[in-house]
């Protein structure tokens, strides 16, 4: 069952990626290598996210992130085509506000907890191990939030779910890209052999 869905996703991804690259290529003729790389990656990311069809948070976040950049916006819109359903759920300002709200709430909660604990707790050392464990977990969830697109505004719970899905899709992306690279390499090799 999973394999089936992943192969479907894979096909979608490939299709969209190719389409995106075609669009990209038609716009400019000569690009330096870095630009090319950026375009490739961008197309790949957007293709991956759009292949998800708005089912996951991270894909939505990724696309809205890409749309922020004016340059990319055109590309994205073209790529997603007339069936583009990706309207950013919130405008930029709203998203920032949402982030701030979430963050301030968390800070408030944390400080309240800390106060309570400090009142009741004796020397903090006695609970050192658990305290350290918690801190570690917190720090790592923070890092994970930064890694997964759109993770900032997710609670710990859905963060893990999104991370899961994100990992799956990344794997597909890497796999496809790698096979393409290999195929290209073989092609180039054989090309050189013919001409020699």
């Amino acid at each position: 069952m999973k394999m089936h869905t992943s192969s479907k996703l894979r096909k979608e991804f490939i299709k969209k990626w190719v389409k995106g690259l075609q669009i990209c290529c038609s716009s400019k003729k000569n690009m330096d290598i870095l630009e090319r790389k950026k375009k490739i990656k961008l197309c790949a990311d957007i293709a991956l996210a759009s292949a998800k069809n708005e089912t996951t948070l991270w894909s939505i976040a990724l696309i809205s992130e890409a749309k922020k950049d004016d340059e990319n916006k055109i590309l994205v819109d073209n790529l997603l085509g007339p069936e583009s359903r990706f309207k950013p759920r919130m405008t930029n300002r709203q998203m920032i506000a949402c982030h701030k709200r979430v963050r301030s709430k968390k800070i408030l909660k944390k400080s309240r907890h800390v106060c309570q604990k400090m009142k009741k707790m004796g020397p903090p050392k006695s609970n050192l191990a658990a305290y350290i464990a918690k801190k570690l977990v917190k720090r790592r969830t923070q890092v994970l939030k930064r890694l997964v697109p759109g993770g900032e505004s997710m609670d710990k719970f859905s963060l893990i779910k999104e991370a899961l899905d994100y990992i799956l899709s990344l794997r597909i992306q890497v796999d496809v890209m790698r096979t393409l690279v290999n195929a290209n390499e073989v092609l180039n090799q054989s090309d050189s052999k013919i001409y020699n």
Partner: protein, 338 residues
């Protein structure tokens, strides 16, 4: 566990001195010891609760699952009685924790994880969470504390902590799923380690994407990729198994680029695979295959493999007539032998 073993000789020496500590020089040590004792006892009591047993504290001590401790203390198994033993165990823990700061954390975390394995349906977070909740209350003696904990358990069923507990269980369930996903995660228990692995994995995947896109940028002089190649991949669903698959693809690439297939490459591909027109394309195929084959590889075997693979992959996606295909084989074989 090795670190615990190393610390054993330390603690063995200190046992007789335990009772003398109060009168000794190190009063702060004793205080710390007491604090540790409380914490440790709470941990133990949680275990007993979670196991659902109502045995006495002595029994609890016997059952304490930490293998590290028990390993170094064979005496403990015989008749634990009174408060001497618990304090000794705490002392052991204390010593362990005193000596190395870093290892202290790791050891304790490991302990927790060991307990976690043995306790069914009780996650590490639960013990940490409930221990932090139990911390505030005063601790007097082991038995009394045990009773306190019972009362606390009732307290722990209020809605807030229940909801939290449910959340944590869900999280741990998802963690387990992630364990299957992320390679090499089976040996790690505990949230922090798991999160660490996940982070590393995500980072490495992202870096791979960067690297691969860079590589593609170098390989491809223009961005319009060989569309045929991609469609080939799509059709064949290359699972990235082997060289032969790539050679197969590239064979077709070459064919297409040479023949300059028309607007609809998909149709062209179909025609190709079904084994359409025989004469000229074939020679192309053969010659291109020739050029690609590495020296030392038998022509026949490889081509056969190629086509076989393609058949297998094709059959899943495209209906085609096998006999035509085999016709293609034979003709190409003939040509090769010439």
């Amino acid at each position: 566990m090795n670190t615990e073993m190393q610390h054993c000789p330390y603690t063995v020496m200190n046992i007789p001195g335990n009772t003398a500590v109060t009168s000794g020089t190190d009063v702060s040590v004793f205080e710390r010891q007491q604090a540790r004792m409380k914490w440790q006892q709470q941990q133990q009591q949680q275990e007993s609760l979670f196991k659902g047993n109502d045995h006495q504290f002595r029994g609890l001590v016997e059952v304490k699952p930490d293998p590290g401790l028990q390993y170094g203390w064979p005496d403990f198994s015989d008749g634990c009685q009174g408060q001497g033993i618990p304090s000794l165990m705490e002392d052991h823990n204390l010593k362990k924790r005193k000596t190395h700061e870093d290892q202290k954390q790791k050891v304790v975390l490991k302990e927790n994880s060991v307990k976690e394995k043995k306790i069914k349906g009780c996650s590490e977070e639960n013990s940490a969470e409930t221990s932090s909740k139990e911390k505030p209350k005063a601790v007097e003696g082991p038995k009394q504390e045990y009773i306190h904990v019972r009362a606390r358990r009732g307290q722990a069923t209020d809605s807030h902590s229940l909801a939290e507990r449910v959340r944590r269980e869900k999280i741990s369930e998802r963690m387990k799923y992630l364990q299957d996903l992320v390679p090499g995660c089976n040996k790690i228990t505990g949230k922090a380690g798991m999160l660490d692995e996940i982070i590393n994995y995500v980072q490495s995947l992202q870096k791979q994407v960067e690297f691969l896109s860079m590589k593609l940028a170098t390989l491809q002089p223009r961005l319009d990729f060989d569309i045929d190649s991609l469609i080939m991949k799509e059709m064949f669903e290359v699972p990235a198994v082997a060289y032969s698959a790539e050679v197969a693809n590239s064979a077709y690439f070459q064919v297409n680029s040479l023949l300059e297939m028309g607007n609809n490459p998909i149709d062209a591909m179909l025609r190709r695979s079904i084994g359409g027109p025989v004469s000229i394309p074939e020679t192309f195929v053969v010659s291109s295959c020739f050029n690609q084959m590495q020296p030392g590889v038998t022509w026949d075997g490889d081509l056969h493999n190629l086509y076989r693979m393609e058949i297998q992959q094709d059959s899943s996606t495209i209906p085609f007539q096998p006999h035509k295909f085999t016709g293609l084989y034979e003709v190409s074989n003939l040509k090769m032998e010439l």
